[in-house]
Amino acid sequence: MAQVLSPVPGTFYTQAAPGEPVFKKPGDLVATGDIIGLIEVMKTFIEVKAETSGTFKGYMAEDGAAISAGEPLAELEA
């Protein structure tokens, strides 16, 4: 089990824009470098990318949630 951690504090988004599909759904295959979510911090959007490959298990933070640096955002099964 691997966790995707937030590199910065900010607001977490699981989709590119309201109404768009979520980046990953449980069961999706994830390759290293795949976008898992977005973090908005100080008017800048940062892509959160998977650092390992695996199967997507689920988000650990909600869409629109305020998160801090190092907080787990999603889980992957190797």
């Binding site: 910065v8 900010g10 908005e40 911090v41 100080m42 008017k43 800048t44 940062i46 640096a69």
Partner: protein
């Protein structure tokens, strides 16, 4: 009528700056804030506070209805907009006018006029301010383009008349190149905008960004000399100076005097800035736009001229006359400001807010730090990354840079990342010390790996 109750419709360091100025004038201060800013320094300092909405700026600091309602509810007789947010929003000024509340800044008409690039260019030309030489209107044939280019002088920039966003822009050095590239630019403009019309402008190589601070009371206007703001990353200024060491006295006088002429021509009220591109090879300067607000970098001008510009703009907004005539305004020494942002310069300037700890602020003659920090303060991630501005003043540019290094070494902001390391590296760079840089200098310097982690 002098202002008695001032609502500050902004946040961060500029809110703190405005409160200090207003309190020094004996004005009652009312700080507007979002839900996320309830514990910011300006809220702690103000005589009175009012919440104007949720964290998202669109629902608070940019919400005209909410800000005007807050001003009415707190019986404010004036609103200071700071910079950004509603500072250059004519609709906001009209809403305040309708409520009988004074806006600390120019009229809605002036904001509209100077905010429109074409109208501003016309007003500047009419006042004798040089603008970037360009074609009078659209050009439809390569032959017309060649004739106009010959009169402007090469190199020229080819732009799409209908354009925007860089589409169709080409820089050509000779007529031969123009004849080759103009048809391509036409085709690209036609494809992108459905209109193959072209527009030509003189291309200014490696320009410097120089701006003039002006202040008006509706009848008279004065300048407070110029600032040099060429050190930019992604069009954001990172380091600003007053004055511009690259100017000779004749050029400086022309630059500043024509700026005053424009300010007088539009009966300007408040603080304003005229921005120019400067070609240091030909010593020519060209107006690009006017900002109708107090700017982030105003402290370098205050240090150079010994004037409190924020107090002066509040004074004229309250109907006062300018308190200093042009001949009373003199420049002494040299001043530099650097912007401390909550960003990691070693990680592509990734924003990195956090909780402030171990704050240590340098003090001493010629050192000033405008900020909104205190130990334990949680910098919210919802707004821009400016934490503070370190300003130094010395008897010349060399001593100012030496003082900047001392002051930066004495500045500690723990708990988050800051751009301090960038400024120390710049202050020690040979080109910066030789005043040899321009608006396109910093990004290649960073890309070349000149900023190294300190171990």
């Amino acid at each position: 009528m002098p202002i008695e109750r001032l609502l500050i419709a902004n946040r961060g360091e500029i809110a703190v700056r405005i409160i200090r100025a207003a309190k020094a004038m004996g004005i009652h201060t009312i700080q507007a804030h979002s839900e996320a800013d309830a514990d910011m320094l300006a809220v702690r300092m103000a005589d009175e506070t009012v919440c104007i909405g949720p964290a998202q700026a669109a629902q608070s600091y940019l919400n005209i209805g909410a800000v005007v309602a807050a001003a009415k509810a707190t019986h404010a007789d004036a609103v200071h907009p700071g910079y950004g947010f509603l500072a250059e929003n004519a609709g906001f000024v009209r809403a305040l006018d309708a409520a009988g509340i004074t806006f600390v800044g120019p009229s809605a008409e002036t904001i509209d006029r100077m905010g429109d690039k074409v109208a501003a260019r016309q007003a500047a030309e009419a006042a004798g301010v040089p603008v970037v030489p360009g074609s009078r209107g659209r050009l439809d044939t390569v032959e017309d383009a060649a004739t106009v280019a010959a009169s402007l002088g090469y190199p020229v920039m080819i732009k799409a008349a209908a354009g925007g966003g860089g589409k169709g822009i080409r820089i050509v050095q000779t007529e031969e190149e123009l004849r080759k590239m103009a048809p391509q630019a036409q085709a690209e403009a036609k494809a992108a905008f459905g209109d193959g019309g072209l527009y030509l402008e003189r291309a200014i190589k490696s320009p410097r960004h120089i701006e003039v601070q002006i202040m008006g009371d509706g009848n008279d206007a004065v300048h407070y000399f110029e600032r040099e703001c060429s050190m930019q990353r992604r069009r954001q200024k990172v380091w600003e100076e007053a004055g511009a060491a690259c100017l000779d006295e004749t050029t400086r006088s022309q630059l500043c005097d024509t700026a005053v002429a424009l300010a007088k021509a539009v009966n300007y009220v408040g603080a304003g800035t005229l921005e120019y591109l400067y070609d240091s090879e030909t010593k020519e300067f060209f107006f690009i736009e006017m900002n109708t607000r107090i700017q982030v970098e105003h402290p370098v001008t205050e240090m150079l001229t010994g004037t409190d510009l924020v107090q002066e703009m509040i004074h004229v907004a309250g109907g006062g006359k300018l308190r200093r005539t042009q001949k009373d305004i003199t420049r002494t020494g040299h001043s530099i400001e650097v912007r401390l942002n909550a960003e990691d310069p070693m990680m592509q300037f990734l924003p990195f807010p956090g909780q402030v700890s171990g704050l240590r602020i340098p003090e001493g003659e010629g050192i000033r730090f405008d900020h909104f920090l205190y130990d334990g303060y949680q910098v919210p991630p919802f707004y821009d990354s400016l934490l503070g501005k370190l300003i130094v003043h010395g008897k010349n540019r060399e001593t100012a840079i030496a003082l900047l290094i001392t002051a930066l070494e004495g500045l500690e902001i723990g708990g988050l990342k800051t751009t301090k390391a960038l400024h120390l590296a710049l202050a020690r760079d040979a080109s910066v010390r030789a005043d040899d840089f321009h608006t396109q200098w910093l990004e290649p310097w960073l890309a070349a790996g000149n900023l190294k982690p300190i171990h």
